[in-house]
Subunit: 140 residues, 4 copies
DNA sequence: TTTT
DNA sequence: TTTT
């Protein structure tokens, strides 16, 4: 269980790279500015590093830019590397799995994209009963 | 944005059906008992109807039973049907996308299953740099 | 653990009641229309019953109306009652704890309200060090 | 909107400090090890820095230790400070608001604590109707 | 610097 | 009984 839900605006345009090799894919990075609740205290925000891979990365590259307000779902990912001074540096990023527009700007939209699988059936009777027949109580 | 996270125990064994047709799949239903925070008030719980489709449904059938404690991630789904008295009945279920064991019972486990896609790469440098070389600062 | 996060629009104006007695409080009810991801399938939505108590209820009464787009955080609550035919009816509602505007309509806003407690300190050094002095490494 | 839900085990005992001044309070820090889904890849985990303030901090001090499995709800908080080399260092922590035991160890428990306010009424009829009378349809 |  |  590792879930993150954020609503905020991109503090900068995404930076996008493509990995090499056969399964090449987009890797987009951006910072999300998320307003804090107790806005009394100098209207501050948290500036959260986000990464989007694959389809989600392409979506970011195409539709997101500085100022775009989104609702993001993802997970926290930590890592580390050694800098040129030889110090171990620890990193914390949010991996963006879902990115949805919070403001319906009609024009700029283009929809929503994510790495999610096709949704399961969503009818009221869960596919237990033939279509057009809903006269029976579903089992509960 | 439609996310639900619940931790609780199955109040009954899952009931499992299989849909007909070519893309036949498992549909498992169960009730999750989720303890309320203010447990002072007569140790009550919420009894939440859950449905799991496909792989998640098979996982439920195989590994979950009355009393199993899980952490579930999913979404709320509403629907309706007409009962035999001709009344329109409205339903609210939680569609289980992820189901994880909360208690590591070693023996009974069998892991975790969900409809989630394969996870994106999780190395510290996000695949921007060749493996084995972490001497450069990743762009931030 | 019982968490719900929803983004959607009010499908109707909130209905508000006030409880009687000394600790009288507002109880607001509304339906939230949450678009489904696989919007290919006849642009459907889930219509989710929500209740807001106390301060959150007053906020709903004052600022929310049919069509308002919000991000809601809360929990699932189940209950039951007996109808006039003597049948036991089971209910599932989302109790709204936080309600935030998803669209910044400047004018209509009025902010955000919830039952949340005052936020804990949010400075970089967590209050371990005197203000104005950030030259020391915080313990990690 | 800034929500985090994690399930994992403390990778070390919490370190606890108390802030000075009149509104002195506990500040507990620990690392949470959260297993990744694709456990095929060398059984890795994310090691996430957490902070708990006030009551939540006291709860951590008292009941949590290395190895304890919890479900945590909170938010991401970013900050920065300047180290002795004069470099600006950026930090990302999870502020723990709720901490629940994932394994019911009966003995060691002691319950759950958080900064959450007292829960709103949770009866089926939402307090609209007098207790003992549930024969009327609640308004929907 | 990490947990089962 | 539903929203854009």
């Amino acid at each position: 269980m590792n879930k993150v839900i954020l609503m905020g605006r991109l503090a900068r345009d995404p930076e996008v790279r493509y990995t090499q090799g056969e399964q090449a894919m987009a890797v987009a990075r951006y910072t999300l500015a998320v307003d804090r609740r107790g806005k009394n205290q100098e209207n501050s925000a948290d500036f959260i590093q986000c990464v989007a891979f694959g389809k989600a990365g392409e979506f970011a590259e195409r539709y997101l830019h500085k100022g775009t307000k989104i609702v993001l779902t993802g997970r926290i990912q930590t890592g580390s590397y050694t800098n040129k001074e030889g110090q171990r540096i620890y990193t914390t990023d949010v991996v963006a799995e879902d990115q949805e527009f919070a403001e319906s700007k009609n024009a700029e939209s283009g929809g929503t994209y994510s790495n999610q699988p096709a949704p399961a059936p969503q009818s009221g009777n869960d596919g237990f009963m033939p279509a057009g027949d809903d006269s029976e109580l579903p089992f509960v």
